[in-house]
């Protein structure tokens, strides 16, 4: 009887917890935001336990990164990105493509960095970039909003 009562109570608790209309969402921790860079890769879609994440960021390197203003006073972001090809020992067992297509979107903020939080003042669209192995792609984004002082370039599949 006691066992049955315990089971009933546990089942009721489970049922009640599943019946809420709304649930709170996790907030991004401030410390996590601070550690984000100005050029980031979106999280990989596939992971393996022992052969690594195969995240795109493992195959790319940032050659240069510059934030300046053009002659008209508009903020300009220039980033040199190179596709290195396969660099991990696991890549010996598979063919690394000669070209890779990624999406790139640059968000501009009126705070010095995206970590301070807040909405973007301007955002480019997610344009498709074709990277040739070994070549540097010079990504450039100009923001028409003069008040932008910070940015974050997000690359992903």
């Amino acid at each position: 009887m006691k066992k049955l009562a315990c089971i009933c109570i546990a089942a009721s608790a489970l049922a009640i917890s599943g019946c809420y209309s709304v649930k709170a969402v996790d907030r991004a921790a401030g410390s996590d935001l601070v550690s984000e860079g100005s050029v980031v890769f979106a999280r990989a879609g596939q992971y393996t336990l022992w052969f690594g994440s195969h995240s795109p960021r493992e195959y790319f390197e940032i050659v240069y990164e510059r934030f300046s203003h053009n002659t008209a006073g508009l903020p300009v972001v220039e980033v040199g990105i190179r596709y290195r090809g396969g660099v991990s020992w696991t890549d010996w067992f598979r063919e690394i493509p000669q070209t890779v297509t990624l999406g790139a979107q640059c968000n501009f903020y009126d705070t010095p960095s995206a970590q301070a939080g807040g909405p973007v003042v301007y955002s480019t669209n997610r344009e498709r970039i074709v990277f040739q192995r070994g070549r540097i792609y010079e990504y450039k984004a100009v923001c028409p909003v003069r008040s932008a002082v910070g940015y974050q370039l997000v690359l992903g599949e």
């Binding site: 599943g18 008209a72 669209n125 344009e127 028409p144 909003v145």
Partner: protein
């Protein structure tokens, strides 16, 4: 008891399952930058072009250093590719970007047909109110002029037909009647009008002359000649109005009569000509005149605008924005490759210089099946 317990657990499990929301149905809406179909021009291209060209245009010295808003006229887009697209799509998206993020630095001149039709309705409506206001002001000016203000007795005026009435398709009789009414109101009895068609005993003649602001021959009648003709008709006891429905006959009598009637013939011919009745799209003004009947001296005159030219204000454009879509297509064994070049130019209309040029290029490979022409 075990069976009851199991049944109870099963009931709870079913209840729990009812609290969990079902699988999300797959959405048919996709991201604006997702390429759902290989090859061809996609929304990504249109958006990328707008995002790149907008700050580039705002950075040109002609726009960045302008002291006031820069007005831009958009030229028609040329599509030289094999793709069926709305030719204006690139420019529309770019215009949206510039209007949204340009901070008011640039203004575009509209050329949408529906907008222009609505605009003309509004301007025509405003024009009617403007004419009413101008006629009232003119009446006040006439009443305040020395010839009325300093007259010891009420001034007698005769309203004689205005010139170029039909040659530029203007309803001058209405304006004449409005003006007469406003003068009578504003004068407070100091100006008295004779019955329409009568001039005997008038101190002054009130008349006017329409003229278009154009260098082309729109059929302007010689004023002096017209007044001579009217004068002659009055002396002969005829009506002031040249009746277009009655043809002037040439009399075999005296040369003076013949000369007068031949001048009437010429005037009537001009009045009847359809080309002279055409309503050109130009500013039309009315020059109101008060003349002395004996000396034909104009003692008062003032000009008012009665019909404005409908214009899209292209003359105010500081720059012209044009766009051209060019493409290079190759096909082999069911595979198609397309190289697309979207180029923009900003042209200074005065100097005909290309002050800025930008381009976007992309190459795609697809299987055949993309809509082409």
């Amino acid at each position: 008891m075990n069976r009851i317990g199991l049944k109870f657990i099963a009931a709870c499990a079913a209840f729990l399952a009812g609290c969990v929301s079902g699988d999300l149905s797959s959405s048919r809406q996709v991201d604006l930058d997702d390429d759902t179909v290989d090859g061809g021009i996609s929304s990504t291209d249109i958006r990328t072009v707008a995002k790149r060209m907008c700050p580039a245009i705002l950075s040109t010295p002609e726009v960045a250093n302008a002291q006031s808003q820069v007005r831009i006229k958009v030229a028609d887009v040329k599509n030289k590719t094999r793709f069926f697209i709305d030719n204006d799509l690139f420019l529309k998206r770019l215009r949206f970007e510039l209007n949204s993020f340009g901070g008011g630095q640039v203004r575009f001149l509209d050329k949408n047909e529906k907008n222009q039709a609505a605009r003309q309705e509004v301007l025509r409506d405003r024009q009617v109110e403007d004419i009413r206001r101008d006629v009232r002001e003119l009446a006040r000016d006439i009443c305040m002029s020395p010839l009325v203000r300093d007259a010891k007795t009420p001034v007698k005026m005769a309203l004689i037909p205005m010139l170029n009435t039909n040659l530029v398709n203007m309803n001058a009789d209405s304006i004449g009647a409005m003006l007469r009414g406003e003068i009578a109101d504003a004068s407070g009895g100091r100006v008295q009008f004779l019955l329409p068609g009568h001039t005997e005993g008038a101190d002054y003649w009130l008349t006017g002359l329409f003229y278009p602001e154009s260098l082309k021959k729109e059929g302007i009648v010689n004023l002096a000649e017209y007044i001579d003709v009217i004068d002659a008709r009055v002396r002969d006891g005829k009506s002031l109005y040249l009746d277009t429905s009655v043809s002037a006959t040439v009399s075999p009598m005296s040369s003076t009569v013949t000369a007068t009637t031949s001048r009437e013939s010429v005037l009537l011919e001009m009045l009847r000509s359809p080309s002279m009745r055409a309503n050109p799209n130009i500013d039309k003004r009315l020059n109101i005149m008060i003349t002395k009947p004996d000396s034909k001296l104009v003692v008062f005159e003032k000009t008012m605008l009665v019909d404005r030219r409908m214009t899209d204000n292209s003359g105010k454009a500081a720059l012209i924005l044009s766009c051209e879509l060019s493409g290079l297509s190759q096909a082999l064994n069911g595979r198609q490759s397309d190289y697309l070049l979207v180029s923009f130019q900003l042209l200074d209309p005065e100097s005909n210089e290309i002050v800025w040029e930008g381009a976007y290029e992309v190459k795609r490979v697809s299987r055949s099946g993309i809509v082409y022409r």
